[in-house]
Symmetry: C2
């Protein structure tokens, strides 16, 4: 990205070709192409492989063909590989770039694993942690695939009338099967995947030399992170930052500046990262959500980020936008 | 807002006090307070009044008490008035600031209108146009109220199992009534109001002196506006800007810069406004969505914005973030 830090889960290696989602003939032809890539999901986890289990298992049509016939299978068209302008094949314009699909199957995980010819395959059990081990390229693909599959898994009934829905548009639409349903008149968000915008913010002390970090009870010992919260209906990004910071820490915020964002596919959040300047300093935490919040001086933050000095506190890993926001602040205010 | 233009629908006159949403005793006491304000909605439109029909009708408990008992009524707690630090009452700390609620009723519109003691009351029929006539303060309240009510109107069934749901948390949660439903195990977005993030962008020509505007068939004659589109699962704001611009106009975008955002309560969008710098210039519109797109030179844009010279083209009204983005670009590049 130009001028912006690239966050994990945001690399776009595929061109989504959303215009092709309604072209059934084209999609079926792509499904059968020998170089088309299929990712297999079980219980919302992608099959991964390799000694350190950090690579996505890629399947060809032959290996998944039977799954595509099963009624419980969900198939999502993810896009086609972007041609790199510098690639040696770029003048072979006759050859189309490979298409990618995600398959969610209800077949037993053990049975699905037998389909792979690679060693050490598995479906990781803790996506929040295990999906952070992929390459940037694969993480970007998983961000799209898992978010859409989570939506199918939770939204198979029409919220407007309670009827069952059918999958359309190559996995990007679900339409109510009750012909009399209001959701079929006009365009409504009930038919489309849900994305939940969340604000995540690093709050800077009025003195410019400390930042506010908090911890939830479920965090690993001594880890502190940025405050965050869901944007509510009728709210701007900036208003949500002010409200959530005040709710969770009692701190009042003045200026808010957008920094960068990150798709977070657990299940389908869009983390909108901001810097926020505090205009008060007395912390009073909301104990339902936050166990502790503190002002940390810049030197301690630098230690936690770069120096491996972990006796004071730790920050979340580099794959999180919380880490990148903290780094952004340190980068702005010092010459490391 | 500090350093940011204030967009229509974004003024926050109420403190949402989200922590009070689960406090039934407090909420019921607020409902009965003599200075508590109720807004009445019919078919997702608020009752407005006044000669030019630009004010929200405010009701007291007495006038709506019977509606609150009806099973089809939806009641949403909007918050309490923010105390202005400069207000003459600010030292009367004993007196709590008035609470606001929105009521959605299925009683006949004509019957509801009889409850008002004001003249010229109505429920406007075209929210996209009629809700733009309110004051900034009232627009901010309506943004929250209408978005939440639209969600109740479309999401009364559980999308996970199809059962009916019950309203909780003062209108900010719906829980499935099927005790065996997966949505009751853990925290899931199915229970919470939906907000759809949308990117809206002014694309600047590589020469810096023209901007790209498009028109849909449904626009008034000669009106052109910014391109816009829904953020998809697994996508950043910046990636969505590039994808939607290329889909709708064929133009490739390089740098993207966030400017400001706007809640748009038809039904519950968050419009995220950006400037985007084009790196190509040949327009090829997606005719399903866009009737025409053109590069407009800066002078023509200034005419359309400020000079009332409307023979070339018009831009959307000042209440739209599209208008504000165009103005922001002109303000950046000239000294008007
Ligand atoms: N879309 C959503 N998904 C999950 N939880 C939500 C959502 N919207 C509101 N919530 C509530 O917000 C809480 C987390 O608080 P916060 O992230 O600070 O807004 C959750 O425990 C839910 O009660
Ligand atoms: N949340 C949503 N609400 C309404 N329409 C959506 C949504 N997500 C995707 N769409 C589709 O997006 C189209 C509008 O295109 P765009 O605004 O350019 O993304 C609509 O006609 C729908 O087909
Ligand atoms: Mg939070
Ligand atoms: Mg919250
Ligand atoms: Mg919170
Ligand atoms: Mg569009
Ligand atoms: Mg579009
Ligand atoms: Mg779109
Ligand atoms: Zn339906
Ligand atoms: Zn349910």
């Amino acid at each position: 990205d130009l001028g912006q830090p690239e966050n994990y889960f945001s690399r776009e290696t595929l061109d989504r070709l959303s215009g092709k989602r309604t072209d059934k003939v084209w999609l079926e032809a792509q499904q059968r192409q020998p170089d088309t890539v299929y990712l297999l999901f079980s219980d919302l986890s992608p099959m991964i492989c390799g000694a350190d289990q950090t690579k996505l298992c890629r399947f060809r049509y032959q290996a998944v063909q039977d799954l595509l016939q099963k009624p419980a299978t969900v198939l999502v068209f993810l896009g086609v590989e972007r041609r790199k302008p510098s690639s040696p094949h770029s003048d072979q314009t006759s050859q189309e770039p490979p298409a990618w699909f995600a398959i969610s199957s209800d077949e037993e995980a053990a049975e699905l694993l037998k389909r792979s010819q690679e060693k050490n395959c598995c479906f990781p059990k803790t996506p929040n942690r295990d999906l952070l081990k992929l390459s940037e390229e694969e993480a970007g693909v998983v961000a799209q695939a898992r978010s859409v599959l989570c939506w199918h898994s939770r939204y198979s009934f029409c919220p407007t009338c309670g009827s069952s829905t059918k999958l359309e548009d190559a996995g990007f639409k679900r339409s109510c099967q009750n012909a009399a349903c209001r959701s079929l008149q006009g365009v409504h968000n009930t038919c489309y995947p849900r994305v939940d915008p969340v604000v995540i913010m690093l709050v800077i002390h009025p003195d410019g030399n400390q930042c506010l970090l908090g911890r939830k009870k479920i965090f690993p010992a001594r880890m502190f992170s940025c405050l965050a919260g869901f944007i509510e209906p009728g709210e701007t990004i900036e208003a949500a930052v002010r409200r959530e910071v005040e709710e969770e820490s009692g701190i009042k915020v003045g200026a808010v500046q957008y920094v960068s964002c990150q798709p977070w596919p657990m299940p389908s959040n869009l983390m909108i990262g901001c810097l926020a300047v505090a205009i008060s300093t007395d912390i009073r935490v909301d104990e339902d959500e936050i166990e502790e919040a503190r002002w940390f001086p810049r030197e301690q933050v630098i230690d936690a980020l770069f120096r491996g000095v972990r006796h004071v506190f730790t920050v979340p890993p580099t794959q999180t936008i919380a880490h990148q926001l903290i780094r952004h602040w340190i980068g702005m205010t010092s010459n490391l």
